[in-house]
Structure formats: C-alpha cells, structure tokens
C-alpha cells in the first residue's frame, strides 16, 4: 500500500474549490500515477479550468491534495511549484523579452538561491536543450512579441519544461496552434511523461486531442465528476453523450466518413 502511495504523483481527496466563497467544483477525488496521463473533459462551464487552477494552487481549495504521498498543506509554495508546472493559453503580453530570457524564467527556482541569482552553465545548457526540443533554438535571441502565436506557445512549452516539473498541467494550450503543432505538442508531452516519474494532466478543448493525450479520462459536468476511467470504456459506454448532451459518437463517425476516401 505504501509503495502504491509513493507511485502516486498526485492524489486528490474530496476537493472543492470556487470563487468568492462559492464552490464551482465539488468533491473531486482521483489519483494520477507516474507515466499515466489524464485528460479532463466536459462541456463549457463544467469546472475543468477551476479544477486545474486548484491543482496548480492558484485557487484555494478545501479537501486534501497530496504530491508523492505528502499533503500539499505541509509543503511550502516553492516546493509545490517545483513539482507542478502549468502550460496555459497565451494571454496578454505587454512587455517583450528575448526567447532565451523567457525560457530562463522557468529556471527561477533553480537559480534564485545561487550567488547574485546568476544562471549557472547548467541552467543555460538546460534552457538551450529545452529550446532544441521545441525547435526554436535558431530564434533564441528574437523578441517574443515578434513571434507568431504558434511559436510563442512553443516558447512557453520550453519554459514549462525548463522548470523540470513532475507534473505538467495543460490549460487549453493548443488554442492558438496550427493543427501540426497541436498534434506535435500532445505527442511530445506523451513522450515526456513516459520518460520518467512524470505525468500530464490536460484540459484540452478538442476531444480528439484529449483522447490522444491520455489513456484515462475524467468527465466533468456541473462541477462534479460524472465519469472517470479508461478512455475506451468511457467512449464505448456512451458517457460522453451524457456529459455533452449531443451524440458525440455519431458526430465523430460522420466526420470520419469524409476521410474514408482519402488515401494514406
């Protein structure tokens, strides 16, 4: 039992959270183990983002949350931030930095205690590595305000990776990405999670991407968990239809028909 607890990267136990004292999500419990990604899906307003913000400790919550078996209430903010990183959708950028400097910000917890807060050679090498991963090394000196939406999102992915977290939370990061990069992002994150003691928890607007990311789904509706389990079980069990109140399977099949004539 103890071993299993340690395998558990993240444990949520009857967690509730909301804004201005009114709970938006109620009584959420689940576990995420290493290498096991989870997609949170559900119609707009079901509380996906609220749940994600609570896990990221941006929002206060009631109930229990544990990282690696240790309650986050007993952890310092920095310790939590060292384990959980968030990749969110691009929002207002008012001040411009170079691509390299932006990714270096992800190293904050690694460099803040060094002498004068100067990044070491290892920090620079790690940032370079992250930029290679997202294929932006050639752009490292460019200003981020001069980049396209897709490039910018890859800069933020690199910054997230630079944090060296155990868990990456995805807050609809694919919104400004071309289809190519949407797929690449999800594929890359799957590889990343499989590499070590890691997991990805994603809120993705696109159901197809969500299914692609994870073998497990958490279906939410009206702030509660409606279904939780293996992706294929949920899809075949008609649970998506109940959450979205639309015949998802039929829609998917109809879309698929258009592609049947196209050769591989």
């Amino acid at each position: 039992m103890n071993d299993r607890m340690n395998d558990c990267l993240l444990t949520l136990d009857s967690l509730s959270a909301g804004y201005n004292g009114a709970d938006v999500i109620h009584d959420i419990s689940f576990r995420v183990s290493a290498g096991e990604n989870l997609s949170i899906i559900g119609p707009n307003g079901c509380g996906k983002t609220t749940l994600l913000h609570a896990i990221a400790h941006i929002l206060p919550f009631t109930g229990e949350m544990a990282l690696g078996g240790k309650s986050t209430r007993k952890m310092k903010h920095r310790e939590i931030a060292g384990k959980i990183a968030v990749l969110c959708q691009i929002s207002g950028i008012y001040f411009s930095y170079s691509v390299f400097d932006t990714v270096m910000m992800g190293r904050y917890l690694h460099i803040r205690d060094k002498f004068l807060g100067v990044p070491s050679r290892e920090d620079k090498a790690y940032v370079t590595h992250c930029l290679e991963v997202v294929d932006l090394l050639a752009e490292k000196d460019r200003e981020i305000t001069k980049l396209s939406g897709g490039q910018l999102q890859r800069v933020f992915l690199a910054r997230t990776l630079a944090q060296e977290p155990e868990i990456i939370l995805l807050d609809e990061p694919t919104n400004h990405l071309d289809l190519k990069y949407q797929i690449e992002l999800v594929e890359y994150l799957k590889e990343w999670a499989a590499e070590g003691n890691r997991a990805v928890i994603g809120v993705l607007h696109d159901i197809n991407l969500a299914l692609r990311l994870s073998g497990r789904l958490l279906v939410m509706k009206d702030g509660r968990v409606q279904a939780h389990g293996k992706t294929d079980e949920i899809v075949t069990g008609g649970l998506l239809e109940r959450a979205y109140e639309v015949d998802v399977a039929r829609y998917m099949r109809e879309s698929l028909k258009m592609w049947e004539g196209v050769r591989d």
């Binding site: 913000h53 941006i58 931030a81 968030v86 008012y94 001040f95 930095y97 904050y108």
Partner: protein
C-alpha cells in the same frame, strides 16, 4: 548593450554638469568642476572664480540639480515597478493617484505642522509615504472590485478619479487656510526652487537604497509581467513579493513627492523609453530608469527656470507639457494594436 549603458550614463553626467552650469548666471562647466573639486576634495579654487559664484553654485544650484536628479530617478523607478506589477504601460504613481495622496499627507505637515515629535525632519517624507501607500491600496482595492482581471484600463481610470478627489481635499484644505493658500498651491505644482542640502541628504539614501532593494527583485518583476498566476506557478512567492514591491515603491514616491510637490509623467515617460532602449529585463530597467528619469528631470527643471527667466515655471507643468501628449500616444498606439489574437483572453 554595454555601449548603450555607457552612453546613457555619460549623457546623464553631462546633463548634470550642464544643469549646474546654466541658469540666470551662466557658470562655465570648467569652473563648475573646479568649485566642486574645491568643496568636495579640498582642492585649491581656481583664482578667477568670484566668491559669489561659489555661493550660487554650492548653496543654490548644486543642491537643486541634485534634488531634481534624485526625484526624477526615484519617481521613475517606482513608475517602472507599478507598470510591471499592474501589467500596464500607463500605470505610474502619478496616474494611479499615489502622488496626489502623498501630496495630501505633505499638505497636513505644511499647514498644521503636524507635530510628530520623534521623527522631526522626517515628518514630511513619512507622511508622504503613509498617504501615498494608503492611496495606492484604496485605488487597487476599488479597481479590483470593479474589474477582477485588472488587465484593462480600469486601474488607470479609478486612479485618475481618485486622485482628482484627493486633490479636491487638498485644495479645500488650502482654501480654508487663506494665508497659506498661495504657498501650498505653489508647492503642489512641484518645484525644486528654494531647496537646500537637507532635502538632498534625506532623499539621496532613499533613492539609492530604494533602487538597490527593488533591483534585487528583478527576476520576480520579469515573471510578473506575464501575469500573477504564471509567476506563482513558476515559484514566485507572489503575495510577499507583490506587497514588498508596492510598499517600497510607494515609499520612494511618497517621500519624494513630500519634498518636491506633485511632478507627474516622468515616472511614465522614463521607464517607457528605458524599455525601448534596453529591453524589458528589470535587471537593467530599474537602474536605468533611475539614471534616465533623473537626467530627464534635470532637463525639465532647467527648462522651468530658464525659459521665462528671471521668473520660473513650475516644473510639474513642464513635465506635464511633455508627458501628457506622450501618455496619449501610448494609450492610442496600444488601442491600435489591440486586435492581436494573443491579447484576447477567455476564461
């Protein structure tokens, strides 16, 4: 980048010397350096310099120019902090009302001598700081109530309205104490005239320590320009850092305003130009805002005292003449680029 820093600092030094040298009586820059050498290092005074010139320079002009530099620097550093914290290039102590609050506090001291026994000479900067901080807290609380994200111009609008209100209280106080009215109104418009070394001795450490302290938070400021949530998930101890920065920047603004009156827009213009020249990294933005803001203020003061010589303009009017159109320019150029997709945020 090193060349740019070198050029900016050299230009600031040249401006300082010119500021001291030009005025109702022009003193050649060589003599300026000679007199400063004499007073500071005890060097022998060049024989052709009259004692009257020494008096003008050492007792009147040098403290005035130094005070202008210090005030400009302090205001600009706090402006840079406000802009980053509120993620708004239009934010500054002046536009969100800290200056008005500080001036109300200072008016109390000036009018009623607000006897605070122990702190004596520090009563003015202390009251300026307390009132400035109070204003910023109220303005932010009001703005966040009206608009949770605070990403648009609510904070600016609230600050403007609020500072008009606070100004009205100050004006009311002035009107009720007729004999002091003229003095208070002149002071409120902002000026460096009739200032002696005492103000320099008090404000110089405020600027130096304040800037050094704030510069220490360069990384956190960089990250917070991406939004508080992102800074937090990257490990910034948001609450404590944010409050520390707000309090320290209100402290340097409030104490400066208390000495020199309300001088607006320097804190908006200087950091903006610094970001254009040196990029957004606060490692440079903070110290260079001090240098550039200081130099800018010296130039404005020079204009204030020479353009209509022998009479004088309030320096606050000069900075506003330059700053207000600049404010409009930033506001409208931002609106023009609003359509960009990445600015749109969905919750």
């Amino acid at each position: 980048m090193k060349t740019k820093i070198f050029i900016t600092i050299s230009a600031a030094l040249v401006i300082l010397v010119l500021g001291v040298s030009l005025g109702s009586v022009n003193i050649p820059p060589g003599d300026v350096l000679g007199i400063i050498g004499h007073e500071v290092l005890g060097l022998r005074l060049p024989p052709d310099i009259k004692p009257a010139t020494v008096t003008i320079l050492w007792n009147l002009r040098l403290p005035r120019v130094l005070l202008a530099f210090i005030a400009g620097g302090a205001l600009s550093v706090s402006g840079a902090v406000m802009q980053s914290l509120l993620r708004n290039p239009l934010a500054s102590s002046y536009t969100i009302g800290v200056s008005s609050g500080a001036s109300l506090g200072a008016s109390f001291v000036i009018l009623y001598g607000a006897a605070i026994p122990i702190i004596g000479a520090f009563a003015l900067p202390f009251m300026g700081f307390i009132f400035g901080l109070g204003t910023i807290l109220i303005a932010i609380a009001l703005a966040s109530r009206l608009d949770k994200s605070m990403e648009n111009n609510t904070i600016i609008l609230v600050g403007m309205v609020f500072s008009l209100f606070v100004n009205a209280i100050t004006t009311l106080m002035a009107a009720l104490s007729k004999e002091q009215m003229q003095r208070l109104i002149t002071w409120q418009m902002g000026s460096f005239s009739m200032k002696d070394w005492q103000a320099v001795y008090i404000l110089a450490p405020v600027l130096l320590l304040g800037t050094a302290f704030i510069a220490h938070f360069d990384k956190e400021l960089d990250m917070m320009t991406f939004g508080e949530d992102q800074a937090k998930t990257m490990g910034v101890n948001l609450k404590s850092v944010k409050w520390t920065l707000l309090v320290s920047s209100a402290a340097i603004t409030g104490s400066t305003i208390a000495f020199v009156g309300v001088i607006g827009f320097v804190d908006l213009v200087a950091p903006h130009i610094v970001r254009k020249l040196f990029g957004s990294s606060h490692r440079l933005v903070i110290p260079m805002s001090a240098v550039l803001g200081g130099a800018f203020m010296v130039v404005c003061d020079l204009a204030a005292r020479t353009v209509v010589s022998p009479s004088e303009l309030p320096v606050g009017a000069v900075t506003a003449l330059i700053g207000a159109p600049f404010f409009a320019y930033i506001y409208f150029s931002r609106r023009a680029s609003r359509g960009v997709g990445r600015r749109a945020k969905k919750r």
